[in-house]
Homo-oligomer: 355 residues x 2
């Protein structure tokens, strides 16, 4: 197969001025405020009482949904935590019943899939909690005497992730299903603050890992590999690559990718760039990553690795989350696309409303 | 961004001779025998007794794992079916306990992740069943007096899917957790037989949808869109594109993709080809598919759609599964790569064994 691939040299320095020129709406300011977003959630007391359930379902789409993926990754490691499902659609799984806790999360409050799932949860007499910054969901929570957690304001649902994630974690703790301790929650706020000094908009590319990764992923299709416990955070990265930087991206999770995707590394790979997110893996997982790197290299494709190993899984997740989120913002700037507007989603909503 | 993309004209007719020239190991013969594989499973009585559980976990990697994804899609629509999780890794979720049914499936019987999960399941006193064609898993089932279901022989785990899928479904029925009725199982065998006449190796490209889709996906990165209920079958398609045709592929599920991936359809999309798998969707889902098609078209990327709407979800799944599996075989032939050998996976196993 013949292919020609011309890589344009990017001269952009990703200075604050470069960023402000492309990010006209100032989405970057929301990201700069993530530690303060998280902190504000922890200062508010959430009025919820303990429940007794044997299943948890988290319903949310897009930016509101990805907190659920992260909760699921955390739940797998938490002793005796009930099965936690994430629903990204209109309907609850058939098992949902009166001993199921259903967290319905819609940042805007008007997501039609989540409103539909909320109504099903009421019909099935599940124990429901609503999370939104307002909208229809807040209204129907009040009407149905369902507890509602109010989320703080940001420019977009995706840039409001700490409001969503920390609110969900705090609510779960109040409901008797703690996934992460209060100390850990506070630790991650300090961690984000420290990280911001090096990956934030003011930091120079030579010291800024997020700016470097954005350059690495520029002008190619990103393929991201990581371990099972980073599935949620890497799915979130994919989503933000889609929405901020406007590129498709492929996430493959190890060890499963070693049974299928790995076989696609052939000499004719092209227009790809790879990112590995590696935790403090044990020997067998490390060998899998190493072999995959060897195969990528043989194919002539460039790759880069991020090693994350904090004291707890949640701290590792938050570190990776913040680093990769900044990366998507910088990639948008390199590509010259404003990260805040999502015109295709806007068009879809217009079509759905019958226009 | 400047990009040049030269599409090579494919003159291959995908005749039986073309297929045999590339598929030297004759993997296609396994696919031709899928109806008979399924039928042979239904003729064997599986010696299992009813159990009483409130969670089901399916453990399996690659070709052995994807039957679990399909079971999960089916379970969501089955009244009162307990939460069903699919584990593709070394460890069980923390919730696994004595009231959890754990199906451990390894076609070879020697998959290290599944063996690890099996041992955890014994420690946690779960109700375990093993499925393999032999190997270590059969051995440790016998040693630990765990019921074992023997799978029939095929060239590769992926080409043995009916052995795995129909055995798992039959076993679940014996265990008291029926997902698909016996009539439906029989219906799908007839359905595969009929389908084989048009999508099998002997059928001409002009009448053969699988050969046509392979031509459509040739020399590009496939992006596949489908609804939630086809998630398992489309993930399987991705895996077989990886293993048989040796290409990376991206699966995006609607409506979730409408909240993120959709935004990546920009005028600079390139080297992509899209496939939509559409069920008999209601109005809102159909509008989502239509808008996505409009955006793909605007980007100048070619797309093709498959419409599947059989009487039951399982019949739709089996139809799509068989059609897409043949597609991956034909795409391998077009690319001139033998579909049966998986040299990268073989290299990985060598590295893991310390070589």
């Amino acid at each position: 197969m013949k292919r020609v691939w011309l890589r344009e040299v990017v001269s952009l320095k990703l200075s604050k001025e470069d960023i402000e020129r492309v990010d006209r709406e100032g989405l970057y300011k929301d990201y700069e405020a993530w530690p303060e977003q998280a902190e504000s959630v922890l200062r508010v007391s959430i009025d919820l009482r303990e429940v007794n359930v044997d299943k948890v379902v988290y319903c949310g789409m897009g930016g509101s949904g990805c907190a659920g993926d992260i909760l699921q990754d955390l739940s797998f490691t938490r002793p005796k935590f009930p099965p936690l499902y994430v629903v990204k659609g209109y309907h609850l799984p058939s098992f949902a019943d009166e001993s199921t806790l259903v967290l319905t999360v819609s940042y805007s409050g008007d997501t039609e899939e989540t409103i539909s799932a909320f109504k099903e949860a009421l019909e099935k007499r599940c124990k429901v909690v609503g999370f939104s910054s307002g909208g229809e969901l807040e209204k129907i929570c009040v009407e149905n005497k369902v507890p509602h957690v109010k989320l703080g304001r940001a420019l977009t649902p995706r840039s409001a992730l700490p409001y969503i994630l920390y609110s969900a974690l705090s609510a779960l703790e109040r409901l008797g299903y703690e996934l992460v301790s209060t100390t850990e929650l506070s630790n991650t706020i300090a961690l984000m603050r420290k990280l911001r000094e090096t990956i934030g908009v003011a930091s120079e590319p030579k010291d800024n890992e997020a700016k470097q990764i954005a350059h690495h992923l520029y002008n190619a299709y990103p393929i991201i590999y990581g371990p099972q416990e980073f599935r949620g955070v890497l799915t979130r990265f994919k989503n933000s690559l889609n929405e901020n930087a406007k590129v498709h991206a492929l996430v493959e999770i190890l060890p499963e990718a070693c049974h299928n995707d790995i076989e696609a590394w052939q000499p004719d790979a092209f227009s790809l760039r790879v990112l590995f997110a590696i935790n403090g893996s044990d020997g067998r997982m490390r060998k899998r990553f190493d072999t995959l790197m060897e195969l990528v290299e043989r194919s002539g494709v460039e790759y880069r690795s991020i090693y994350v190993k904090e004291d707890t899984l949640f701290e590792s997740i938050v570190k990776l989350l913040y680093l990769l989120e900044y990366t998507t913002l910088y990639l948008a700037v390199l590509r010259g696309v404003p990260p805040a507007p999502t015109p295709n989603i806007a068009l879809l909503k217009k079509r759905l409303s019958g226009d």
